[in-house]
Symmetry: C2
Subunit: 476 residues, 2 copies
């Protein structure tokens, strides 16, 4: 804690790690590539969970729980799926002291085991749609890991739905993309771009994948949530069939979609600054911290009753009073700045005398972020200020993103701009052009945004006619 945090300019990657460790969001586990999500990090995840879960339930989804362990043979039923996931599997070969006849994989995702249950449950069109979500943990044996961004085990929600028609499945896939978009913008203040993945970048086993893509503080892209239209691929692999209204057997149409603890990485790298975390107010585990300020016992006797009263008045927001006596107010200021609490409320003898408190905004450092507020208006002003900080964080992040999105005039310029930014360019849609960019620059297609300019252009790589624009960027 004593050494200074590296700045983002000095070493972005080390800044990221140190912010997480020092703010106690997470810690390295004694198992390679695994993390411990500490209470401060987990309460952020709980806020994310509540925010999404409310939206899922409002659109008719229900939660359930499917097994962690999946027979290896299940994965093999969908060809692309097993090819995509088999290099990343953790395999249980021994149970209760005996070698298992069939190895079980620790789920890397649950399309297969859930597909097998839907096959059992679905008989008629009346059983559809099934709109189930699951909150849980999955394991993917990654070689290069980063806290929150890529860990062997991570936490997520995975939705799995089954429908009677292709149209309904596509509508569901898009509805979820809308929910992710709404959540990211309105609760996390993360300006994301919703779009479609290229064939090369789509989920193993999907017909079509959608994503929300965010730009991090180092201009790299981060895939922050995905929604997949699985077509009939899993329905055919697992025999999810139903009698339709005409009494004919049909295969169902399925979707899957997920958002994970990786999103915490997106929050850190969208809003964080050289002092540490900056929590978006609507998800912040602590929305405001009250720091009492006094030097003498007499001052303490003046200040603390006011602090206790204000704490009561603010009990419908997530409030914390830092009444530690072994550290100075200056230490506390740094500590809560590191942890990214959006609003600090200082109460000292002068405030008591003036019947005020002092607001200090996390997002605006120093004197400019300070205002004096009457104690009578406290509760209303705190809520307004939290909304103001939310909007301000979002606008700042959007401005940063837009300043780093370029429209290169030719392929040479594209190669330049993706070094520190994104290119938004016409693309013919061919895997060859996509691959060439990747090989030449390490940038990949991030998404074909839903919001297209219209018209046609020339592919930035090959010059052939192109109907869609795409974002190219280096990515986490």
């Amino acid at each position: 804690m004593d050494e200074k945090l590296p700045t983002r300019a000095e070493n972005y990657s080390e800044w990221y790690n140190q912010v997480i460790l020092r703010s106690e969001l997470a810690d390295y586990a004694p198992v390679r590539g695994c993390m411990v999500v500490r209470p401060y990090g987990w309460s952020l995840w709980e806020a994310i969970q509540q925010s999404l879960d409310r939206r899922f339930k409002a659109t008719g989804h229900v939660n359930a729980a499917f097994p962690l362990l999946i027979p290896m043979s299940f994965l093999e039923k969908e060809k692309e799926h097993v090819e995509g996931f088999s290099p990343e599997l953790a395999v249980v070969t021994v149970g209760g002291g005996e070698k298992l006849e069939e190895p079980l994989v620790v789920r890397p995702t649950s399309e297969t085991i859930i597909g097998s249950m839907y096959a059992k449950w679905v008989r008629s069109y009346r059983d559809l749609p099934i709109l189930i979500n699951q909150w849980g943990n999955v394991v993917r044996w990654e070689m290069r890991t980063r806290l929150f961004l890529r860990t062997l085990e991570f936490y997520w929600q995975e939705g799995h739905t089954a429908h009677a028609t292709q149209e309904e499945a596509e509508a569901e896939t898009r509805r979820i993309l809308d929910i992710y978009t709404h959540f990211a913008i309105n609760d996390a203040a993360v300006p994301i771009i919703p779009g479609k993945k290229s064939n090369a970048e789509k989920f193993a086993g999907a017909d079509r994948s959608y994503t929300i893509e965010a730009m991090m503080g180092d201009t790299k892209a981060l895939q922050a949530g995905t929604s997949h239209n699985l077509g009939q691929n899993f329905a055919k692999a697992f025999e999810i069939r139903f009698l339709d209204v005409n009494n004919e057997q049909q295969y169902a149409w399925t979707t899957s979609w997920g958002l994970s603890t990786r999103f915490i990485g997106a929050i850190i790298m969208t809003h964080g600054d050289d002092k540490g975390l900056v929590m978006p107010p609507r998800l912040a585990p602590i929305q405001a911290v009250i720091v009492p300020i006094f030097k003498t016992d007499a001052e303490k006797a003046e200040v603390m009753p006011v602090v206790d009263r204000l704490r009561q008045e603010l009990k419908d927001i997530r409030i914390h009073v830092d009444d530690r006596t072994e550290v100075t107010p200056g230490f506390k200021f740094n500590d809560w700045e590191l942890r990214g609490v959006p609003l600090r409320i200082e109460v000292g003898p002068k405030d008591v005398k003036n019947h005020t408190v002092t607001f200090a905004r996390r997002d605006i450092p120093g004197k400019e972020g300070k205002t004096f507020v009457s104690q009578d208006q406290l509760s209303g002003r705190v809520k307004e200020m939290l909304d103001e900080i939310h909007t301000s964080l979002f606008e700042k992040a959007r401005a940063f993103r837009d300043a780093h999105i370029h429209d290169p005039k030719d392929y040479a310029e594209l190669q330049e701009v993706v070094k520190e930014g994104w290119a938004y360019s016409w693309w013919c849609g061919s895997a060859e052009c996509e691959n060439k960019v990747k090989e030449d620059t390490k940038a990949t297609t991030r998404c074909i945004p839903l919001d297209q300019p219209g018209g046609t252009g020339r592919c930035i790589v090959c010059g052939q006619p192109a109907h869609e624009k795409v974002y190219f960027a280096k990515a986490y």
Copy 2:
């Protein structure tokens, strides 16, 4: 769904399985010994989670997440712990296509991995207490499995705390036992007996284990939640040490405590009857179901607007309107009885005319459970009725339990009464007497209740002086 549910008297075990499958609480998974918790079952678990989580947080606990995979060597650090758990382990030996140097076990419980982190986090007495809980899944390789009661994978919360003194650790262990007791009685309407486990029955690695024990509808006992004082056993195994106020190195004192999806089994077997589930109102996924009743379109046009209005008025309870058109009201009645919805509200043309609704209580079948309630008083009456049903379920279960607890006069009578009930008897505390009962009758000591009669007696087995009374019973 067509065949009749077996009665409890005919075949208790089959009644239990069929109730779960038909009410769609859970289903068998395609992996031996695993279950799928279906949406109806998971929403019951979510209600249990919220009920407990609120109590944990109100007493200063916070949630976090520790890894699923634990190095085998960690378990071996605590001798009793590894002996207790090693026969039940699922072991990952392959990761990312390669054989692992050290096998990883899928956590059967997390004392070891959490202990290793606490050793890293705790330096001084100022870092204590640590009061962390985790909601998650664990795997124990059981040979004989039952839905909810004993499955390879199950869901639970596991609390793990560390303290500076023995007294604080014991106080925490007891505080949690109080929370479990309060939850069981006040939210689940399950009359439990809180007490201490014998040495033979305590947790592998604990100094002392406490339990809440419940009696099921077949008079068998079910351990419904446990709280362990781990002494310094894990602190010594994992080097959880701190500098105390006198600047001296001390080992911490730790506790652990858990309540799992097994509790759903307790709810089913405490309240269920020959028609199916009976949900305790405060945890019921659906607290009241409105069934509109009409035969003609004209009647429908009268009834449905009233139903829609009443649904709005009841939106602060968990309400469901069964507006299916393809099934009859009689079918619906049976269906919701099977699923145990505490209160059915019927609205038919006569009700509309009289400005009333008809209440039908799940816990009192037939006409006696019916009352007519004015639509003007609906919301208040529904809440009162749910409270009334809660109390009634609790009293009924307590009366059943007390009627099946016996005070045998000698060992011969003890052997008789534990065939269909519990014996509450003096016990000298020796493992020999405990073992003799187990061998002769299959009954084990369930708990030494906190609430003792006082005084002394003679051990029901050996006749030696005894200072405590204990419950002997056959158990799940």
